[in-house]
Every structure is written in C-alpha cells, then in structure tokens.
Amino acid sequence: MAALTPVGSSRRRRTEAFTVYAALIALTVVFLFPLVWIVGLSLKTRLQVFASPPLFLWRPTFENYAATLARADFGQAFVNSLLVSAGAVSLSLVVGVPAAYAMARFRFAGRNVLFFALLSMRMLPPIAVLIPMYVLFNAFGLTTTRTSVVLAYTTFSLPLVVWIMRGFFEDLPRELEESAWVDGASRLQAFVRVVLPLIKPGLVAACILCLQLAWNDFLFATVLTNNATRTLPVLMAAFSGGDTSTDWGGMTASGVLVILPVILFSFAAQRHLVAGLSSGAVKG
C-alpha cells in the first residue's frame, strides 16, 4: 500500500489531511516532550528546576553547561568514549569489510558457518560474552584498559559491519570487478580500486551505526572500565545513581552533551543511515 490515493471529494480529502496532521503532531508532542523537557531543565538554575508548579517560561541560563564542561571527569569520559568508539569502528571496518565482500561474492567452505556465527554474535545477549571476557581480561591484566573495551565492542560492531556491507556488495553489479579482472587486475586490486570507491555510502552507513552503538553502550563499559577509563554512559549512570543527587541541571546538561553528537551526526547522514538500517535488518 504505497501512498494512499485519496478518494472522494476535495473536501473529504482536506478533512483527511487535517486528521493525519493532527495525529502526527500529537505523536510528535508525545515523543519529543520528554527530550524537550530535559533540555529545558538543563537551561534552568537550581531554584528554577525545583520550582513548584514547574516553570514553562524562563530566561535560559547556560551555567549548567559551563559547569559540566569544566568538570575534569566529564572531559576525560568524553575522550574515552571517543577513543573506544573510534577504535572499535575502525577495527571492525578494517577486519569486517573484506569478509563482507568475500561473503557477498565468493562461495567458500564454511561460508554458512561464518554467516551463522556472525549472526549469533550480534543476537546473543552481551552479558554472556562479558562474563568470560571479564575473567580472561583480568587474567591477562587487560581489565580497566580501553583496549579491553574496544575488543568487547567488536562483538557487536563486527557483525553489524559485515551484515550491512554484505548487503551493499550484493547490490553492486558483478560486471564492474569482472572487467577489472579481465584487464589483469588481481582480486585485491579490483576490490581496493574498483569496488571500495563505489561502496562509500555503505561504509558511511556502517560507520555511523557502529559509532552510535559503541557510543551508547553501557553494559560492557561499566564492567570493563575504572574511574580513569570510563566512558560517558558509565559516568552518566554514576551521576544519576543514588537519591542524593539533586543537581538536575548539571545532570541534564551532561545528558544533552552526551546525546548531541550522535543526533547531529545521524542527521548529517540521515539518508545513509536509513539505507543502512533497512538494508541491515530488512533486506537480510
């Protein structure tokens, strides 16, 4: 049912459009209100936050943001988050893209096993991998390092990269590489010089989705880091833990700063993102 074709008089059509808009606006209000309210809290002073009844109009203050950005632990966590996310995504791309290409183009022994293993890697609960990882990393002195977090993150980013990229490679006509092979290029040369440049949108989609997952992860990071190596979600959970925390302005300001990069980044590449989401999950 692509696009309902309106039937009936133009008057009926107009009422229909009106109903649809009303429903959409209502949905938007419901879905965005929590976020808008939180951003609002982050722009209030401590007194305004707890005003009763709640303030709906006030002169915004940026003191919470200034305070958050001045915090050493926030800066440290921000850097940690950046490092582990970037590390996990680059590792997964470098390792996973050739595998995705091979799975899309060549028949080889163990192809189905690899397919199944990658899928289960993404689908099985992360805590199942985390427990033995914690014990093993501990034995090798790797816990509380950023390396351990990067390795842990590949359990979800590697399958995602392979899954998404395989879809993109399959959509690419074979003739392109085949003509390169005929011209005497090796498989590797054809892959690097012909295929990869054409597959950039796929790389962008895979990159963003993995970055988002890595940036948002909490479970792995909370177990595998300490105060020096913790990532932003771990710090946020520490902020909000306990009933004693009353610094709502500071908490919400840091929350907004955590989600802002992801949202901006996703919007900047929304076209790729939607393509990636649907190719990764629907197209199979």
């Binding site: 050739p98 914690y134 909490f218 949202i263």
Partner: protein, 311 residues
Amino acid sequence: MGGTTEAAASGRIARRPLIRGRRRMIWADRNFAGLAILPTTLLMLLVFGIPLLFSAWLSLEAWSPDQTLFGGTFAGRANYQDLLTDPEFTGSLILTLEYTAAVVAAELGVGLGIALLLNIDLPWIGLFRTVLIVPMMITPVVAAFCWKLLLDPDHGVINYFIRQHIVWLGQPETALLSVAVVNIWQNAPYVAILLLAGLRSLPHEPVEAAQIDGASRLQMFWHITLPLLRPYLLVALLLRMIFEFRSFDNVYVMTSGGPANATLVLSMYTYLASFVRFDLSLGSAAAWMMMLISLLMCGCFILLVRRREAN
C-alpha cells in the same frame, strides 16, 4: 597493476621479480576469499569463540575470582540446578518473558501506527519522518535517567500533569511499567522505520484493485496491507524480541531490579550474580540459559531470512 606495467616497461632486468610477483598474485587470487575472511575469523575466535567456550566451562565449575584461571573444582550441573531451584531466577525468567512480550507488542503496535501515518504522502511529511526518529538515537542510559527525572514523585513533571503523587519507581505495580515505557519510547520509532520501508516496497496493484472494487479503508488495511506486510512485521517482531530480551540499561539506571525484584530482568539478575556477588560461575550458567532462549529466537530469525532469500 602499476607494478607489473612498470616492470614490463623496464624490460629484461625486471623479468624475474615480475614472474615471482605474478605467482604471488595468482596464489592470492586463488585464496582470496580465505584471506579476506581470515582476520574476521581470528577476531571472532578471540572475542566470541574462546570466551563462550570458557564461559561454558566456567558454568560447570565452582570458581571464585581469588582462584587461578583453571583452579576451580568441577561442579557438574550444580550451578544450573541452583538456578532452577532459585525462586529469584525462575521469577526473573518469567518476568523477562512477560516483559519482552508486552514491550514488543506495544512497540509493534505504536510503530505500525507511526509507519502508516508517515506513509501517507502529504507536504511536510518528511519533517515528521525526521523528528519522530530522534528518541531512537538517544543513549539508553541518558534516556533512562531523563525518564527517572520526569517520573520523580516530588518534582517530576508527569506527576504535575496528572496532579497526583505517584512513586512510579518505588512500587512494584508501576515500576515495571515505567521501565517498559522508556524502551517503547525509544524503539517504536525504530520499528516504524522498518515497517515504513516495508510499506514503501509493497506493490500498488492489489490496493488499486481493491479500491476499484469499493473496499473500505479498514478492509484494505486488514485484508491487503497487513498480509503483504507480514514478512516485515515478522522481522521487526523477532529483532525486537531478541533485543528486548536483553534489556539492561533502563532497568539498571531506573530501578536496579527493585522494588522487591519487580523489575529484575534476566540481564540484571545475571549482572548482579556476576559483578556484584562475584559468583561468576553461577552468572555464566544464567548467561547460558539466556543464550539458549536467544538462540531459539535467533534460529527463527535465520529461518525467516533464509526463506526470504530463497524467494
């Protein structure tokens, strides 16, 4: 390519390296697929294969963190027996299944509604498509604590709107609902995107034929759109089941499993056993139980994908 042409141009002197290079190239070409998947295979063994084997072994041991890696004593099925006779675990298992079913049903319902609305071609619809997916991008931990503030009994805006003093996260009846709302809020848009892609790819003809036959909107939706959309609904259903089954972040931040275990989902139970009580053997056993259930769901998913690829 560059290398060989240069070598050919420089004539006889370069002939030997050229041949050797060719051979290497032919060897690499013949084994290209194997070489391409080698790094992935190794990395998977390192971060997935070996840990899982180790965890299986750990779940059959009585091991504590002060022992050496292989210093535990063999315990056989003891950990699994402990779990199955522990009312906290069985309660958590049932709770998780109920929670997953309810949250996924809500996500599919709301997601389908949003997708149907967004599928109608009207001016400005693109704006709604963009705005409505924002909750999906929010870091789950941040989303959870935002809702914690919204639901605060004394200063929360939700209690202000309904003019009541409800301790949402403090009583068993409302705590689970509150935790569920966060995930529904975040993931219904995701379901909507999946279903919208499905709606967009459906053929026009059946709907047009039904229109000519004078079918009502509801009839068309029920007898044409919904059956055609079934494969997409199934994929969304299974994906969401698999991911809701492992819910952790929202529970950890909002309730930590309380009050009175009302929100103690399996991930939380396993986390508490492993990283608070440090009974990593019991934790491994619980994790394996979770994996078996997820594998069942995953198997269904693979069957589905296979069937669609075969078509």
